[in-house]
C-alpha cells in the first residue's frame, strides 16, 4: 500500500513537472491572433520608421508621445492597454481622447476610426500640413488622405500608405516601411 502510494506521488510529480516545463518553454505565438491585437502593435512599428521634424519637439524626452483617439471603443481600449507601459521614441506614451479637431495638434499620432465622410475630411483638412501621423483601418481612407491605412488580406494585416499626404504633413517615412506597403494616391487632386 505504501509502495502504491509512493508510485502515485512519483507519477503526480512527473505530471506536474511536465506541465511546469511546458509552461516554461519559450513563448511562441499561438495559432490565431485577433486582428485588433496585431493592429495595435503596428502603431509602434509605424512610429519606428517615421521621422518627425524637429519642430514637433519629438526629441524632448520629458514630454510624452501622444496618441490621439476620437472615441471610446474596444479598439481604443486595446490601444490604451497596449501602450500604457510602453515607450515610443523613448518617450512615455500618453493617450488623449480628442474633444474637438483642434486638440489633434497636441498629438504625434492619431487613430481615425470609421466616421462619416465629412468628419474624416474635416479632420484631414486640419492635420494635412501638420506632423501628425494618421492611421486608419477603413476602406478608402488611404485615398482620402489618411497616411497609413490598415486592412486585412488573406487573413493577414496589410497597410497602404498615401505618400503624397505624408510628404505634405512634413513627416518622413523610411523606404524600409514603404517597401511593405501598397502606395496609394488621392482620389481627387488636392
Amino acid at each position: 500500500m505504501i509502495l502504491a502510494e509512493m508510485k502515485k506521488i512519483v507519477y503526480l510529480k512527473i505530471c506536474v513537472t511536465s506541465l511546469v516545463i511546458c509552461f516554461s518553454l519559450p513563448a511562441s505565438i499561438t495559432c490565431q491572433v485577433e486582428e485588433n491585437v496585431i493592429k495595435t502593435v503596428f502603431f509602434q512599428r509605424f512610429a519606428d520608421f517615421t521621422t518627425w521634424p524637429a519642430s514637433s519637439k519629438i526629441q524632448d524626452k520629458s514630454s510624452p508621445f501622444v496618441i490621439g483617439l476620437l472615441a471610446k471603443s474596444n479598439f481604443s481600449n486595446m490601444i490604451e492597454k497596449t501602450y500604457s507601459e510602453k515607450t515610443i521614441y523613448n518617450k512615455h506614451v500618453k493617450i488623449k481622447y480628442l474633444n474637438n479637431i483642434s486638440e489633434a495638434e497636441q498629438c504625434h499620432m492619431i487613430y481615425i476610426p470609421k466616421l462619416c465622410s465629412h468628419e474624416v475630411e474635416d479632420l484631414l483638412a486640419f492635420t494635412k500640413d501638420k506632423p501628425i501621423l494618421s492611421i486608419g483601418d477603413t476602406k478608402g481612407y488611404g485615398q482620402m488622405g489618411v497616411h497609413i491605412n490598415l486592412y486585412t488580406l488573406e487573413d493577414g494585416i496589410r497597410f497602404e500608405i498615401n505618400e503624397t499626404a505624408v510628404k505634405k504633413s512634413g513627416l518622413h517615412i523610411s523606404h524600409l516601411l514603404l517597401d511593405f506597403a501598397t502606395i496609394v494616391t488621392y482620389q481627387e487632386n488636392k
Partner: protein, 729 residues
C-alpha cells in the same frame, strides 16, 4: 513531506502559468514588420458579415475549427454540422464517406445530392455520378475555410447544387507545413504543403497528402466479415483486410490575374480475404481504384473600377482503374475465358475470374463570369459556360470477361453530352439593413430537357438580428449510369433508360439569427418540394430469360425511372456561446427532418415512403465544447442520431436474418463521443495533437446501397485513437 513537496510543485506550476499568461502584444512587439504581416488573424465580426452577405443559410468551418476539432477530411467536418447525416463511412465497393443531407439520400452511386467545389471549381462528377469520391477523399490540411450553403443553389452554381453547395476554399497566404499521424488499425496520415510568394506578381503552391489504413484489425474476424455470408473457403479466410489509400496532389501557379491549378485524387480501397498482407495484390477481393484529375485555368481582370471579369477553362478526367473488380465465390474454379492481356493484369485470374468494372468521365468546360457594380448599391454577377462531357457509365463485360482496357471497347460505351448555360443574379442594398438578391439560370442540354432555375433572397437585419427568406429552385441531372447502365445477374437484369428527366427541387427557407459578441443563436425552417425523382433499379413489371454460364434464369427487368415526387421539411436550432474571454466555446445544433417520397408504381398505385423509413434519422443532436488556454486546446463532441430504417430487398436472400417481420432493416440510435487534444507550436513551430474517435466504442451500422448484392449492413467506424504532429516552417 510528500504532500508538502506536492504543494510546492503545484504552486510552482501556478506561478509559471500566471507568469506565462501575459498579454499577446508583448510577444508580438518583438516581431518585425514582415513577421507581423505573416501572423494569421481572426477578424471580429467576420462571422456576422459573412452571414449577412450570404443570400442563403450558410455554415462556415474555418481553419481554426479544423485544427481545434481535429478534422482530417471533409467527412469528419460534415458530421458535426446541422442537417448532415452519415449514411455510410464504408460504402459500396469499400468506398467511404457517403452522406445524407436534409433528408435527401445519396444515390446508390454516391454523393450526388449536393455540389462540391474547390475554390469555386466543380469537383462533383460532370456525368452526375457523385461516384466513388467519398467525403473522406478530401483532406483538409491546406484548407482555409469550408462554406456550406444550404438549399437549392442551381442559379449560381448549376445542376447538382440540389440540396446544398459545399465550397472548399484553400489557403492563399504564404505557408510551409508538414505533418504525420499514426493511429489504430495502422492508420497513417501524411501531408506536406507549401505556398510561396516569389514576387508581388507570382505565387506557387504544392500540396500532397495521403491516408492509409487497414480500417480494422486484419487479424480478427470482424463483424463486417461475419456479415458477409458469401466468403471464400480456406485457406483464403486466414485474414481479412479492409483497407483504404487516399492520395491527393495539388499544384498551383498564379501570375497576376492568371491562375493554373492541377488536382490529382488517387483513391484505392479493398476488402481482401487471404494471407497476402499486400492488400492491393490480393488472393480474393473486392477492389476499387479511382483516379480523378482536375485541371483549372482562369484569367481574372478588372476592366473598370466597376467591372471585373473572369474567363476559365476546366478539364476533368475521372476514371476507374480497369483492375477494379469483384471476385465471386460462384466463379471459384469455374471455366475461364483467357486472354494474354488478362493474365498480365491479374496473375491470379486463374483462380476463378473476376468481374471487372470501368467508368470514365471526361469533361471540358469553358466559360466567362462578369461581376459589376451597376449602381452604388446594385451589383450583378452574370455568366455563361459550355460543357462537353464524354461519359462511360459504370460498366462490366460480365463475370469472367476481360476488363475494359482498350479505346475500342471504351468508344463503344461512351456517351456524349453537351450543356450550355446562362445565369445572372442581382444584389441590391435597399438600405444598410435590407438586401435583396434576385437571379435566374437557364440550362440547355443535349440529352435531357432544358431547365430554368430562379432564385429570390431577402436579408434584413435590425439590432443584433439577421433574418433571411429564400425561395429557390435546383435540379439534378440524370447520371450517365442511371441513363445507360446495364447489368445482368442471376437475380436481375438492369436495363438503360435514356429518357430520364432531371430531378427538380423547389425550396422555401427562412432563418433567424441573433448575434452578440462572438456568440450567436439561430433557428431555421425549410420546405422542399420534389418532382421527377429518379428511383434506380426498380422493377418494370417485365421479366426476361437470360443465360449465365451454362444455366438459364428468369429474372425481373429493372431500370431507373422518374417515378418519385415528394417533399422534405425540417427545422434546426444552433447555438454558439463563448465564456471566460473566449477560452470556453460551447456549440450545439439540433436538426429535425421529415417528409416523404410518393413513388408511382406500374399498376397505377402510389407507395408513400416517409423519410424516416428511408435511412434518415428524424432527430440529430450535435454538442461540442472547446476549451482553450494559451497554446492548449481540448475539444469534446457528442453526436446523437435517432433510429433509422429502410425497407430491404433482402427478404429472400441470406441477409434476411437482419430484417424485422415487416422487411425493414433497422438501425438503433447511436451516441458518438469524440475528443481532440492539441498543443500549438510548442517549439519551433511544432504542434502536437491526439484524437479519440468514438470514445465509447459504440458498434453502429450504416448502409450504402439497396441493391441485392453484398451485405446491406455495414459496420461503421470503431473506436480509433490517433496521435500526430504538424510542423510549420
Amino acid at each position: 513531506m510528500a504532500i508538502t513537496q506536492m504543494k510546492t510543485l503545484l504552486l510552482s506550476a501556478l506561478i509559471c502559468t500566471s507568469i506565462y499568461a501575459q498579454p499577446d502584444t508583448d510577444e508580438l512587439s518583438k516581431l518585425s514588420i514582415e513577421e507581423l504581416m505573416r501572423v494569421e488573424v481572426i477578424t471580429p465580426g467576420k462571422f456576422e458579415q459573412e452571414n449577412w452577405k450570404a443570400s442563403g443559410k450558410v455554415f462556415i468551418i474555418d481553419q481554426w475549427m479544423i485544427k481545434d476539432r481535429g478534422y482530417k477530411d471533409l467527412l469528419e467536418a460534415l458530421r458535426d454540422i446541422p442537417f448532415f447525416q452519415v449514411q455510410s463511412e464504408f460504402g459500396h465497393w469499400t468506398k467511404g464517406g457517403i452522406i445524407n443531407l436534409r433528408g435527401h439520400r445519396s444515390g446508390d452511386s454516391g454523393n450526388n445530392k449536393f455540389l462540391v467545389l474547390i475554390d469555386g471549381t466543380k469537383i462533383s462528377d460532370d456525368a452526375e455520378e457523385g461516384l466513388y469520391m467519398g467525403m473522406n477523399s478530401f483532406p483538409l490540411n491546406d484548407v482555409k475555410q469550408i462554406e456550406i450553403v444550404y438549399g437549392p443553389n442551381s442559379t449560381l452554381y448549376g445542376r447538382d447544387a440540389y440540396a446544398a453547395m459545399i465550397n472548399i476554399i484553400t489557403r492563399t497566404a504564404e505557408y510551409a507545413e508538414a505533418g504525420f499521424s499514426y493511429g489504430t488499425y495502422d492508420s497513417q496520415n501524411i501531408f506536406a504543403g507549401l505556398n510561396k510568394k516569389f514576387s508581388s506578381d507570382l505565387t506557387g503552391n504544392i500540396n500532397f497528402s495521403q491516408y492509409l489504413s487497414d480500417e480494422q484489425d486484419p487479424r480478427n474476424i470482424s463483424v463486417t466479415y461475419l456479415n458477409r455470408h458469401i466468403f471464400p473457403n480456406a485457406p483464403f479466410t486466414e485474414n481479412f483486410y479492409r483497407a483504404s489509400r487516399n492520395s491527393r496532389l495539388n499544384l498551383g501557379l498564379k501570375y497576376r490575374g492568371l491562375k493554373l491549378n492541377y488536382i490529382l485524387f488517387d483513391l484505392e480501397g479493398s476488402e481482401t480475404y487471404g494471407g497476402n498482407p499486400d492488400f492491393y495484390l490480393t488472393d480474393y477481393s473486392t477492389q476499387t481504384k479511382l483516379i480523378n484529375q482536375v485541371l483549372q485555368a482562369s484569367y481574372e481582370t478588372r476592366i473598370t473600377s466597376d467591372l471585373s471579369t473572369e474567363a476559365y477553362f476546366n478539364y476533368k478526367n475521372y476514371e476507374l482503374d480497369p483492375s477494379t473488380a469483384n471476385l465471386y465465390t460462384e466463379d471459384f474454379n469455374r471455366g475461364l475465358i483467357s486472354a494474354d492481356s488478362i493474365e498480365q493484369i491479374d496473375p491470379l485470374f486463374g483462380y476463378g475470374g473476376r468481374k471487372y468494372y470501368y467508368f470514365r468521365t471526361m469533361a471540358y468546360k469553358t466559360g466567362v463570369k462578369l461581376v459589376s457594380n451597376l449602381l452604388d448599391k446594385l451589383t450583378n454577377v452574370s455568366g455563361a459556360d459550355v460543357n462537353y462531357v464524354y461519359g462511360i457509365p459504370v460498366i462490366s463485360a460480365g463475370k469472367g470477361m476481360p476488363p475494359i482496357t482498350t479505346e475500342k471497347q471504351r468508344d463503344a460505351l461512351e456517351h456524349y453530352i453537351r450543356n450550355g448555360d446562362l445565369f445572372t443574379e442581382f444584389n441590391y442594398e435597399l438600405s444598410d439593413n435590407l438586401n435583396i438578391a434576385l437571379g435566374a439560370r437557364a440550362d440547355f442540354n443535349s440529352n435531357f430537357e432544358n431547365t430554368f432555375m430562379p432564385r429570390l433572397a431577402i436579408n434584413t437585419r435590425f439590432s443584433n438580428n439577421i433574418i433571411k427568406i429564400i425561395l429557390s429552385k435546383g435540379y439534378l441531372a440524370p447520371s450517365i449510369t442511371q441513363s445507360y447502365f446495364s447489368s445482368l445477374n442471376t437475380f436481375s437484369l438492369i436495363t438503360p433508360n435514356s429518357d430520364l428527366r432531371p430531378e427538380k427541387i423547389s425550396g422555401a427557407e427562412a432563418e433567424w439569427m441573433y448575434l452578440w459578441n462572438n456568440s450567436h443563436i439561430s433557428a431555421n425552417v425549410f420546405y422542399n418540394k420534389l418532382k421527377d425523382g429518379i428511383i434506380e433499379s426498380i422493377p418494370t413489371g417485365e421479366t426476361a430469360e437470360v443465360v449465365i454460364g451454362n444455366k438459364k434464369y428468369i429474372v425481373p427487368v429493372l431500370k431507373s425511372q422518374n417515378v418519385s415526387n415528394g417533399n422534405r421539411r425540417g427545422f434546426g436550432l444552433e447555438l454558439r456561446n463563448s465564456y471566460i474571454d473566449n477560452k470556453l466555446i460551447i456549440t450545439a445544433n439540433y436538426s429535425l427532418i421529415a417528409g416523404e417520397d410518393k413513388i408511382n408504381q406500374n399498376n397505377g398505385s402510389v407507395i408513400i415512403v416517409p423519410v424516416d423509413e428511408n435511412l434518415n434519422s428524424t432527430h440529430t443532436l450535435n454538442l461540442g465544447a472547446l476549451m482553450k488556454y494559451d497554446r492548449f486546446s481540448l475539444y469534446a463532441s457528442a453526436q446523437w442520431f435517432s433510429k433509422r430504417k429502410i425497407k430491404s430487398h433482402h427478404s429472400t436472400t441470406l441477409y434476411s436474418e437482419f430484417l424485422d417481420n415487416e422487411g425493414y432493416l433497422n438501425f438503433d440510435p447511436v451516441l458518438l463521443v469524440n475528443i481532440n487534444f492539441r498543443v500549438n507550436k510548442i517549439f519551433n513551430g511544432v504542434s502536437l495533437y491526439s484524437k479519440v474517435t468514438n470514445l465509447l466504442d459504440k458498434e453502429y451500422y450504416g448502409q450504402s446501397i439497396t441493391a441485392n448484392w453484398g451485405s446491406p449492413k455495414i459496420l461503421q467506424n470503431l473506436r480509433r485513437i490517433e496521435a500526430g504532429f504538424e510542423y510549420s516552417f
